[in-house]
Every structure is written in structure tokens, then in C-alpha cells.
Amino acid sequence: MRYLLFASHGGLAEGMLDSVEMVTGKHNNIFTISAYKNERDNLSEQLTTVINQLAENDELIIVTDIFGGSVNNECMKLLTDPRIHLIAGLNLPLAIELAIMNGSKASTSQLIENALKNTKETIKYCNHLLRIGVADEEF
């Protein structure tokens, strides 16, 4: 089984899951950690709680909000565990792509490569797009 974990500074992660599910429907394999919302939260323990739920053959794709941030830095320490894959740069197109492709038979690293390739292009300056225009298609 393949699991996803969205992890962020504050509420982005849980909000991201809410938005993903509005578009794609419910998922039962996505965890979230909205870090540092309470004084007593301990990120390392929160991560351990998720990882302890994984079976030996399970895999976990962690997507953090920002590369170089403390959440991602903490997750970097987990990469000695071969079941864990880490992506920095949580955004809705990427989150949807991963959630949808999660049932795919492709290897997890292949799935991640594809998802990154497909979604890196989705950050757009829309004013510019309108100036360029798009051709009509026919049957």
C-alpha cells in the first residue's frame, strides 16, 4: 500500500487535503501534519506516529510545503528508511496528481517523476496566456 503525507508549517497540509478531496473525492491513504500549530506539538514525534503505521511493504510519499524549511529538513532525516520518498513544494496540482496516480502500478519513484514533470508547468502567468491565445480543436 502506498500512502501520502502532506506536511506544512501551520494549516496548509490539512487545507490541502480538504481541497484535494473536493476535486477528487475522499481518500483513505492520505495523512496530514500541520506542524507547530500548538506549542506542545513535536514534529519528530508526529512523523514517527505516521511511520509506525506503515507495514514493511508499504511506502510513504511525504510532500512538504517548502524546501529548506524546518519541516522538510526534519523529513530529510527519515530518508534512511527506503520506504520513504520526500518531495518539497506542496501545491494543489501536484497533490491532486499524486492522489489520483496513487492507484497506479508504476513504481513509486516513476510515479513521482511523472507527477513532478506534469505539474511543474502548472504555475502560470495568466495575463500572458490570454495574450497568446489557444487554437480551436475540431473532431
Binding site: 473525492g25 491532486i96 490570454l130 491565445g133 489557444v134
Partner: protein
């Protein structure tokens, strides 16, 4: 081959582009609507929202019906999206090969009754739904493919 006809007042947007197209295995989306072809901004926005690797054709209702009847759509796994129950009923009446209509989103408006999350029907729209059902079209309510199918006829009867 027609995979599905969906009624969605937002036409092509996230749920449609990402979830439905993928789950239906559609390779072509037809937007049948009388405003979009003549509304440049709306048309461009829809064209830009197209999922990768999928053909997107935008036609007014009359041309859409003609294309279906001419058979030029036969080679596609076609997913048709219209914005209203009235447009859906026009299509199913003109092209009886459409056997399955999904109600995804019909905006709330004065006099409309909320029959399901995101689906609000005026009395005349309820009549059109019944008319489609009488013509042996399956009319079901779902926002996303993984939602449980709700039979529109049952909901209208129960609440009506």
C-alpha cells in the same frame, strides 16, 4: 462512443478535468453550450483548463447535435459537458444514443429546490429530468466519480 453526459454549471473545471476524464478513460471532451463559442474570455479560459493529452471541442448546441448525428464523434471516447438540465435534455432528445446523464452541479437560484449537494432544480427542470427518465435515460447525481450514485428520479419523487 459516448462515455457520459454531465450537467455542470462550471463546465470544465477541476473535478471535470482531473477526476471525471481520468475515471471515464475519455480521450475527448465536448463542451456543448451556446454562450462559450461567442464569449472569447470564457472560451479561452476553458481551452487553457484542458487536461493534457485530451482533445477538447467546443460547439454551440446546434453544431454539437449535428456533429453527434454525423458520426464524426464515433471514434472518440467522448465525454460531453453541458451547463444546464435544459441543454442535457435537448441533447438526449436529439440524440437518443445518450443513455446516461450525470448531474454534477446546478447552481442555486430563485425558485429552485436543493435536491442534493450542489444540485438545485427549478420545477421546470425537474420536469425535464422526469422526461429524460421516461425516455430511458439513466439520470444520476454525483459530484466526483467516487461519490455514491444517487438516482435523480428517486430524489425528486421523495422530496416532491
Amino acid at each position: 462512443m459516448i462515455k457520459l453526459l454531465r450537467v455542470d454549471h462550471r463546465l470544465l473545471h477541476g473535478q471535470v478535468a482531473f477526476s471525471w476524464t481520468q475515471s471515464l478513460g475519455a480521450d475527448c471532451i465536448l463542451i456543448a453550450n451556446d454562450d462559450v463559442p461567442v464569449n472569447e474570455l470564457r472560451k479561452t479560459t476553458i481551452k487553457l483548463a484542458k487536461p493534457q493529452g485530451i482533445k477538447l471541442v467546443i460547439k454551440n448546441m446546434e453544431d454539437a447535435i449535428q456533429a453527434l448525428k454525423d458520426g464524426v464523434t464515433d471514434k472518440y471516447k467522448l465525454f460531453i459537458v453541458v451547463e444546464s438540465v435544459a441543454d442535457a435534455q435537448k441533447l438526449t432528445e436529439a440524440y437518443p444514443e445518450i443513455k446516461h446523464v450525470n448531474l454534477g452541479g446546478v447552481k442555486a437560484k430563485d425558485g429552485a429546490r436543493n435536491i442534493s449537494k450542489a444540485v438545485n432544480l427549478l420545477p421546470e427542470e425537474e420536469k425535464l429530468v422526469k422526461k429524460m427518465i421516461d425516455q430511458n435515460v439513466e439520470v444520476e447525481i454525483r459530484q466526483v466519480p467516487s461519490d455514491k450514485k444517487v438516482n435523480a428520479g428517486t430524489v425528486i419523487q421523495t422530496n416532491g
